[in-house]
């Protein structure tokens, strides 16, 4: 008991007693002043970014634990990287317990905001935007937490990313909620990650809406336990503008949700509609790979209780049109490659299987047919992700 009191006192001392607020205003020499504040911050401090446009030439970075970076609003405090000449991203965070909120990053040459090995990071009320709209020359990821435990991205907006608007990679215990993502190649992508809840997001006008992927040859593989629910996923038909070579360059325009090479993924209670290729696509990894530890198939993927609208009227993959013609003019809203176990679709919509049997098999060997994937005993849903109280308290 005594030790708890002592610890509480210590915590108080470390968070409030010495916490300072450093305000940085827009204006000349913004680069050095803002970067200086980020470097000189002490744990517990807040960096206030004033309203206005900060003209920046190099990436910014934060490497101090327990710092809040707070602007006057996503439309007010704008970190403008239009004239960036150095570094791979706009803002890079490499420390734990950081809160980023209420500011915008525009036109960074590479990624917008990246956080790496940054546990318990919070993105709240952030906007990352490439202001010229979809363009292969835009940076890859808007909001990009990677290799982190406990990630919260909420009430943020990403527009124009040439890969994924919100991309969470090689992380675990993740919540992505109440965001708006549009005009990206992928709206939201959860990749090589464990335990993610993606809900109440507005996902429109991307190439593909929400992707749950796993890729080979990476330090963390075996993505699993992802719930995608209560999202509005609509009209993701933007032509794919990702540079070739990237995995998302192969995502057909007009894809609502795509699950690839993952286990225990539940897609439910979403509205998914107006997708030229498919509302829900369930597939194995198709490229060749050399990695004995990688599992390319999907397992225990459950789709239920979604409201599904129009789909399959403009399939954006080779042979798609012929395939659609063969099954009555449009593709059914759910498309499965035919590979994997425990695949359940309880939505009352038709499902087309390509009838493939091994990952990487060419589409020319497809034997398409309608599939019956309903089941009364689907795999149990993953538990809800619970984040530490401190993360939620930080944005009260």
């Amino acid at each position: 008991m005594k030790s708890i009191a002592a610890m509480a006192a210590l915590l108080l001392a470390s968070t409030s007693a010495f916490a300072a607020v450093h305000t940085v205003e827009a204006g000349p020499n913004a680069q050095e002043r803002l970067q200086g504040a980020l470097i000189e911050a002490e744990p517990g401090d807040t960096i206030e970014i004033g309203a206005g446009r900060f003209e920046l030439t190099d990436g910014l970075s934060l490497d101090v634990d327990n710092v809040t970076v707070r602007g006057a609003g996503a439309g007010e405090s704008i970190l403008d990287f239009t004239n960036q000449v150095g570094a791979g991203e706009g803002l890079m965070v490499t420390s734990d317990d950081v809160v980023l909120r209420d500011f915008a990053v525009e036109n960074s040459r590479g990624d917008g905001i990246k956080s790496k090995e940054a546990d318990r990071i919070v993105y709240h009320g952030i906007r990352v935007e490439w202001t010229n709209g979809p363009d292969a020359n835009n940076g890859a990821y808007g909001i990009y937490p990677v290799e982190s435990t406990h990630v919260l991205v909420q009430r943020s907006q990403v527009i124009g990313a040439s890969d994924a608007g919100i991309y969470v990679g090689q992380s675990q215990q993740i919540i992505v909620r109440e965001n708006m993502v549009s005009q990206n190649v992928a709206g939201i992508e959860i990749e090589n990650s464990f335990n993610a809840d993606v809900f109440e997001n507005m996902v429109t006008q991307n190439t593909g809406g929400i992707l749950v992927f796993d890729l080979p040859n990476l330090p963390q593989m075996g993505g699993h336990s992802v719930r995608v629910f209560n999202n509005m996923i609509q009209d993701n038909n933007t032509a794919n503008f990702a540079p070739e070579g990237n995995i998302v360059a192969g995502v057909p325009a007009g894809t609502g949700v795509m699950v690839m090479a993952n286990r225990n993924v539940h897609v439910f209670e979403n509205v998914i509609q107006d997708h030229g290729t498919s509302n829900v696509m369930l597939v194995a990894y198709t490229e060749s790979f050399d990695d004995p530890n990688y599992e390319p198939t999907i397992r225990d993927v459950v789709v239920h209780s979604n409201v599904q609208g129009r789909a399959g009227y403009a399939p954006d993959f080779e042979g798609g049109e012929q395939l659609a013609a063969a099954v009555g003019g449009t593709l059914p809203p759910v498309l499965w490659d035919g590979i994997g176990t425990g695949i359940v679709v309880n939505d009352e919509v038709p499902v087309l299987t390509l009838g493939l049997t091994t990952p990487g098999q060419p589409l020319t060997q497809a034997q398409p047919s309608m599939a019956e994937l309903a089941s009364e005993t689907p795999a149990a849903s993953p538990e809800a992700v619970v984040l530490p109280e401190s993360m939620l308290a930080a944005i009260q």
Partner: protein
């Protein structure tokens, strides 16, 4: 006039006879080990002159078999180990330096690279201080007259220009890294680590033994490993020299516990997994850094290899390394092009 000169000579004779110039105060080990961030480089007393050319006692200059390319800047490297202590030899990785040690590296450009006597204008000096808590990295920028350098934790851009080996004038916006950028390259599992001074990159046949003689290294085995000089064809095979180049220029981030750990592309000299080395490895988070190509290295096809594409780029969203390179390293590019071109096509 004559009398004045005579008086001066007399005074000079007096001082030189009776009071020899006192030895300069030794390196301020207490400042290295302290918890302050000194405002001026001179507070460490690494050098006995202002401009950082004449090292103090136990400050020893060195170079590496294969150095990092930094926009053709010339570099002066020094190591300091406190009296009575030695660094510990390590066969792999960097040497282990005792608390109180420092590594000092100055960056600058001669006015004319064709003229070996051309004076170097030193821009900045970066120090790594070994404190009880670990390494601390600090960048210092030289003042105009070169008498001292001042701490610049947030970094700075400064104009730099020179005449290159072909007689062309080069001008760049030279980036002095900020303190976090120091760590971007010097990170291992989130802590600051050394990059250059490994036994294999220091080992030129004599240096390790010299360091033992000078009392700054504990031992120097005869069979210490060695990486070749990347640009000396007589010093190693093409494969060895390319690996050495990629190790020094890329592997500080591209290793399993470095800043690019999430890429899965690992370029350390000893990395043996071909996919991890980039061979037929697909990009992960490259964005437009992929250049539209499918593999980091496609054996036999340098022009279709992402690794070379990014070395040949100047756009900050594409260029690799991400920090400290604005110009293309033509000679390094040529080496890696040959390395990929001569690889057997395994696809």
């Amino acid at each position: 006039m004559t009398r004045a000169l005579l008086a001066l000579f007399g005074w000079l004779a007096l001082v030189s006879a009776s009071a020899p110039v006192p030895a300069p105060a030794p390196v301020a080990t207490d400042v290295i080990m302290g918890d302050t961030l000194p405002r001026s480089l001179s507070e460490f007393r690494f050098f006995t002159d202002g401009i950082g050319q004449t090292p103090n006692a136990r400050v020893i200059g060195y170079d590496l078999n294969t150095p990092l390319f930094s926009d053709y800047a010339v570099k002066n490297r020094f190591v300091y180990v406190p009296e009575g202590q030695t660094a510990r030899y390590a066969e792999s990785g960097v040497l282990e330096f005792p608390v109180g040690s420092a590594l000092i590296k100055s960056f600058g450009y001669p006015a004319d690279f064709r003229d070996p006597d051309s004076p170097v204008r030193w821009i900045e000096t970066r120090v790594l201080l070994r404190r009880e808590s670990g390494w601390v990295a600090l960048p210092y920028i030289w003042n105009e007259d070169g008498t001292d350098a001042v701490l610049a934790r947030a970094g700075r851009r400064l104009p730099a220009s020179w005449i290159d080996m072909d007689g062309e004038t080069q001008e760049i916006s030279y980036r002095v890294p900020n303190q976090n950028q120091c760590k971007t390259c010097h990170a291992r599992d989130g802590e600051i680590a050394l990059i250059g001074p490994s036994a294999r990159n220091l080992n030129n046949g004599q240096r390790l033994a010299q360091w033992v003689d000078w009392g700054i290294l504990d031992r120097a085995p005869d069979n210490a490993p060695r990486v070749p000089r990347w640009d000396d064809e007589s010093d190693g095979t093409l494969d060895e020299r390319a690996r050495a180049y990629l190790d020094v220029n890329c592997a500080h981030c591209h290793n399993g516990s470095g800043s690019a750990s999430n890429s899965g592309l690992f370029l350390a000299y000893e990395e043996s997994n071909p996919v991890a080395r980039g061979i037929l490895k697909r990009p992960v988070a490259a964005g437009r850094g992929s250049g539209g190509f499918a593999f980091d290295i496609e054996p036999g096809h340098p022009q279709r290899s992402i690794l070379l594409f990014r070395m040949e780029a100047r756009d900050p969203g594409i260029a690799m390394p991400e920090l400290g390179r604005e110009l293309l390293h033509e000679e390094g590019i040529a080496l890696i092009r040959r390395y990929i071109a001569t690889m057997e096509n395994q696809g």
